[in-house]
């Protein structure tokens, strides 16, 4: 006879552990299966996390020694050309004081593990080093458990929650989710660069526990539809750069070349100077947006987090969507247990509740955004350089009057991107996020 419990969760990432915590809070017997040797061993992200959503799972996370690297008090956006770029920064005291931990950085290896420990303390069994290889179904097709790669590896449950991330073998194998095509997946590489704590605080002009996040657009992705980021950790910096998988293939770019280049950019190089590379990672991200979210429930199962393509590419919000979808999935399961009804109709409440939450609202709001970026590659190749040239010309003091400079710049920009095209980009950009 195989083992059984109330709920089996596949994946100990933010989605799976959030769900597990809520279930355990309600006395539901839950087992989480994780393929990594420990939670987080296989995971990466840019490293930004959101306090509001974490507090809905672990209200006193800060007191419970959550491994926070730095509290973000300043957000910068850069629009880069090859030789420089524009920078927009916003800092606010409120994030240093009252709204501390609104956004903060974490290392996923440490955070996921801490998060799983919290679940463990609530009575969840987090079983690591175990790969779920298939789902068990009964004659009617209802999911009734999972099969793992261990001996006597079947585990039965009333509900299975798939929280197995973008690399979901299961979703592809079971046909719950079509395998995403390259256009809707991004590949990101990350390097962690070690620097002394004080050096970081000094270079970014922040107090010891505070930090800065920088989102970087423009020529750093070498014409690819993508983005770079630089986040401050306690004694390291996270550099991430990535782009659409299709573009990687089209432009024949190698991820490691991309990040090596990124590190030499004149706005990046001084910030990482003297640092020691510590880790190098690569991961996928879902980028399809609203139109590529699969059906997230069925008889005996639910899907949460990246596995369900719940990711806001524009605001790099993935972990919070994972946490919140995990929480809503758990609440749905608790209701289903009360009714003893694990059918698709009963679990379908999940989809409705997601729709009413910020998750689907945001994804819907930005549904055109991935498509917008794909159709306007100017943003990544010609525009950064022309806009930079304009600024360069304007800032060079050389006896030429400003009016002449202005018209010269306009001409230069228009020679690369027509006026109509510029208008269209602006209009479509606004439409895609309005």
């Amino acid at each position: 006879m195989s083992e059984c419990c109330d709920v089996v969760i596949v994946g100990a990432g933010p989605a799976g552990i959030s769900a597990a915590c809520i279930l355990a809070d309600h006395g539901v017997e839950t087992i989480v299966l994780e393929r990594g040797e420990f939670p987080g061993s296989k995971n990466m992200s840019g490293g930004v996390l959101y306090g509001h959503d974490l507090a809905r799972i672990i209200p006193d996370f800060a007191e419970r020694n959550c491994p926070i690297e730095r509290n973000i008090v300043e957000s910068r956006i850069w629009f880069t050309s090859k030789e420089g770029g524009y920078s927009l920064a916003y800092r606010d005291r409120i994030f240093e004081e009252q709204r501390r931990h609104n956004v903060f950085t974490v290392g996923r290896a440490r955070f996921d593990r801490w998060f799983a420990e919290q679940a463990g303390q609530k009575g969840v069994l987090v079983v690591c080093g175990t790969v779920v290889t298939d789902l068990l179904k009964d004659e009617s097709g209802k999911v009734r458990g999972v099969r793992t790669d261990r001996e006597q590896g079947e585990l039965e449950a009333k509900v299975v929650l798939l929280a197995d991330g973008i690399n979901s073998l299961l979703a592809a194998k079971t046909g719950f989710r079509p395998e995403p095509d390259p256009e809707h997946v991004a590949l990101a590489v990350k390097e962690i660069i070690g620097l002394p704590e004080e050096t970081i605080s000094e270079r970014f002009n922040v107090a010891p526990e505070d930090g800065v996040s920088i989102e970087i657009l423009g020529s750093v992705t070498r014409g690819m539809n993508g983005v770079g980021v630089l986040y401050t950790n306690k004694n390291s910096l996270s550099l991430v750069i990535g782009g659409n998988l299709k573009d990687f293939a089209r432009l024949r770019l190698k991820p490691y070349e991309l990040i090596e280049d990124f590190k030499t950019h004149p706005m990046v190089a001084p910030l990482i100077k003297g640092g020691k590379p510590r880790e190098y990672l690569a991961h996928w991200l879902p980028e399809g947006g609203y139109d590529h979210v699969p059906r997230l429930y069925g008889d005996g199962y639910l899907i949460a987090g990246d596995s369900g393509m719940l990711f806001n590419a524009l605001h790099r919000e993935g972990s919070n969507m994972a946490m919140v979808s995990g929480k809503i999935a758990a609440e749905t399961i608790i209701q289903a247990i009360q009714k003893s009804d694990f059918s698709s109709e009963s679990l379908g409440v999940y989809a409705q509740r997601l729709k009413d939450s910020f998750i689907m609202k945001d994804l819907k709001k930005y549904r055109r955004f991935p498509g917008f970026l794909q159709k306007h590659e100017d943003i990544f190749n010609t525009l950064p350089d022309s806009l930079s040239m304009a600024a360069r010309d304007m800032l060079t003091v050389d006896g030429v009057d400003k009016k002449t400079k202005q018209s010269r710049s306009w001409k230069m920009i228009r020679s690369k991107t027509s006026r109509l095209r510029l208008l269209r980009i602006l209009f479509n950009a606004w439409r895609s996020v309005k």
Partner: protein, 287 residues
């Protein structure tokens, strides 16, 4: 039949750092694992249990987090996990560690007589290989180190036959029980726990024994009972490698050159049964 396995939780990395002030390992920030040799010890115990029945107790001295290695042992087939944890145990060298373990074994022995203790050959963090022998000495058990295989085990007649590694080769010994083995990596390939066992091990309780429970003499415990003082630690000088021959440039030539060197060495030639001074002409290679 009662087997006790002694386990240690160790940092898992090749990149160990040494605190220049205290000359001890910096354990912070390192992944902790069950010492690989001890994992083999558990596997060996489980195999003996499968054949002869009985019970396995896993024993570990360490901080509260070390209970994870006991769970691992239980997922593989140990029946009980006992964590020896007390501030008074901290900072122990091998003398104090073997004392603490011995006290615990004595208590276990009162309930179910212990026939065999299995330890790993050494811990990968300290590499002293002293704790096992120290424990055997304290308990007056037969001491069998560097074991590569258990040939036979006969608790009824209190006999065990093992193979062990010695400098020049192998040794087969028959000895009396109770005995303590320290095992080499090749002595048993650890299994992977089945899912039910893994889940069950996570649900089981770990007993925690403190200094009172083991009836320890405070002067022999932890840092107090540890006369060892690490004065200096350093890496051994890198070994100079022998001559190199570029096989890519010409395989035959490279082989010729290397054979020349071997045969020029009188001791080596003798070992190989080749009269010295005989040049390895074409004939010696059989063509």
């Amino acid at each position: 039949m009662h087997i006790v396995c002694c386990l240690k939780q160790v940092p898992d990395t090749a990149d160990v750092k040494i605190d220049p002030e205290t000359n001890t390992l910096v354990r912070e920030g390192l992944e902790s694992i069950l010492n690989p040799y001890d994992l083999v010890a558990v596997e060996m115990a489980v195999r003996l249990k499968e054949k002869h029945g009985g019970r396995i107790s896993a024993l570990c001295m360490g901080p509260p987090q070390a209970q994870s290695v006991l769970r691992q042992a239980m997922s593989l087939g140990a029946d009980a996990g006992i964590l020896l944890s007390d501030r008074a145990f901290a900072g122990a060298d091998t003398l104090a560690t073997s004392y603490t373990l011995a006290q615990a074994v004595l208590i276990l022995n009162r309930k179910t007589p212990v026939n065999l203790i299995i330890c790993g050959k050494q811990a990968i963090d300290g590499d002293t290989a002293q704790t096992g022998p120290g424990l055997a000495t304290r308990l007056d058990y037969t001491q069998l180190t560097y074991v590569t295989a258990v040939e036979s085990f006969d608790p009824k007649n209190k006999l065990i036959r093992i193979k062990r590694r010695i400098e020049e080769g192998q040794e087969i010994l028959e000895a009396e029980l109770p005995a303590l083995l320290t095992v080499e990596l090749e002595s048993a390939r650890p299994r992977r726990a089945s899912l039910p066992e893994l889940i069950a091990s996570m649900r089981k309780d770990i007993e925690v024994w403190d200094k009172k429970k083991i009836e320890g003499d405070a002067n022999q415990l932890g840092i107090k009972g540890s006369p060892t003082w690490v004065r200096k630690m350093g890496a051994p000088p890198p070994r100079t490698s022998g001559p190199r021959f570029e096989a890519a440039k010409g395989l035959r030539e490279a082989v010729d050159q290397s054979l020349d060197i071997i045969f020029a060495d009188g001791f080596m030639a003798e070992e190989l049964g080749i009269p010295t001074g005989v040049h390895h002409g074409k004939d010696s290679r059989g063509n």
